[in-house]
């Protein structure tokens, strides 16, 4: 049994909120550079340059990459041999978000669904807890902006629609999203499970570093095919036209009920922000 004070969780979450929002991942910047080589639209190339410049300014001046610093989505994988001390775990995570968003001059975006009154401290965090073997704790913070989240969907396809139905739905979703979710996007796809699990799989898929291959060869091929088709639609960087509509398509899949085929598409904007730490 390993004891971890929850104050350590609070500090870590606070730090990760600020880091994720100001320090864009190397995989995303690398993808901007790579896509610039293949982009055919001069305006598209120019926009990719602006994204690189923006990321540099954000890092140097510790300014948020985007003013929508998101709802704080927190994944926490807790080793089953860990005992948290000094308070409750979820409360510690919310406190970390509260502090990180205050100290980092990040925008607070949580509000009451009806009155739209801003809650002022960006809590509650959206927490996904997972119990795993061992005595470590892995925390990932993924600030998720509203523009791209609004373009995301869960749909229960008929099993007979099969993989062709899945492809058609994803392509249609990207097409309809147009310039709204700040392209170039990462398309997170969750296939299978139940209604809510498909959505979680899709969100987790957005965390996979860009440029890494899906370990399942069938899914890797499907990802490559979808990426190619998406980048023929023409939306382009910033939606101003071009080849680079998506940087990647990431798929997570699991078995589902014989009667259903759940599919979730979670659109991630080019501000693909996430940072993790292990305690």
């Amino acid at each position: 049994m390993r004891e971890i004070p929850v104050s350590e969780v609070t500090e870590t979450v606070a730090r990760l909120c600020v880091e994720a929002n100001t320090d864009l991942g190397a995989d995303v910047e690398e993808a901007f550079r790579r896509m610039k080589e293949t982009e055919v639209s001069p305006t598209g190339k120019e926009v990719l340059d602006l994204l690189l410049k923006n990321a540099r300014i954000a890092r140097e001046e510790r300014m948020p990459i985007c003013q929508d610093t998101g709802l704080a989505v927190v994944f926490i994988d807790v080793g089953q041999d860990v005992h948290f001390t000094g308070g409750d775990l979820e409360g510690a995570i919310h406190e970390g978000v509260r502090r990180g968003y205050e100290k980092g001059y990040l925008r607070k975006s949580t509000c009451h669904p009806f009155t739209r009154k801003n809650l002022g401290d960006n809590t509650p965090a959206i927490i996904h807890t997972h119990i795993v073997p061992g005595d470590r704790v892995r925390i990932t913070v993924e600030p998720k902006g509203g523009g791209s989240e609004n373009m995301s969907r869960v749909v229960m396809l008929a099993p007979a629609e099969g993989v062709e139905g899945i492809k058609a739905y994803i392509l249609q979703r990207v097409r309809e999203s147009g310039s709204n979710p700040c392209p170039p996007i990462v398309v997170g796809v969750g296939i299978g499970g139940t209604f809510e699990r498909a959505a979680l799989l899709a969100k987790k898929a957005t965390l996979r570093p860009i440029g890494t291959e899906n370990p399942d060869p069938e899914l890797a091929a499907l990802e490559a095919e979808l990426l190619e088709k998406i980048n023929q639609i023409g939306i382009g960087p910033g939606g101003l036209g071009g080849k680079t509509t998506a940087l990647a398509v990431h798929i997570e899949m699991m078995p589902c009920h014989i009667a259903s085929l759940p599919l979730a598409v979670n659109i991630q904007c080019h501000a693909g922000r996430h940072k993790e730490a292990v305690l």
Binding site: G146, N180, G236, L240, C269
Partner: protein, 186 residues
Amino acid sequence: MSREIRLQTPLTDEAVTPLRAGDRVLLNGTVYTARDAAHKRLIALMDDNQPLPFDLKGAVIYYVGPAPAPPGKPIGSAGPTTSYRMDPFAPRLIAAGLKGMIGKGNRSSEVIEAIRRYKAVYFGAIGGTGALIAKSIVSSEIIAYEDLGPEAIRRIEVRDLPLFVINDTVGGDLYQEGMKRYAQAP
């Protein structure tokens, strides 16, 4: 290559009419910020024949909810939010004198029609470049609805704010045209 044009607010018919979808604009002068909640309140004031917190004539509204200003800076990260959420309100404001809107993403056919009819313009800023855009904002002051937090109405001064003309007075639409030009699939 598209043209680059320097504009000064407030905007006039003469300034707006020659603009074409795809033109690049460097905007200077006073701009007002407002998002969904502020728009709702502006429309409610108009319904009651009450004065608005700023003069709409020739005005430019930027759809943005900036991040808090860090010490020593006039404003935090300040990129555009998605414009379609303001579509139900925009035609009324355009009819009342609003000349320019800055945001990201497609507008409704009603907004596009109002832009043509009343000679206005919809500018696109590149979404998600809030740190870069903040460099073009030299001052910022809340003038109404402080209770809305990031959604309060601010008067900001901009210097060479880089924008693209998306919708112009002759029905041009850069999002549609750009996508068509580079579409390879049917």
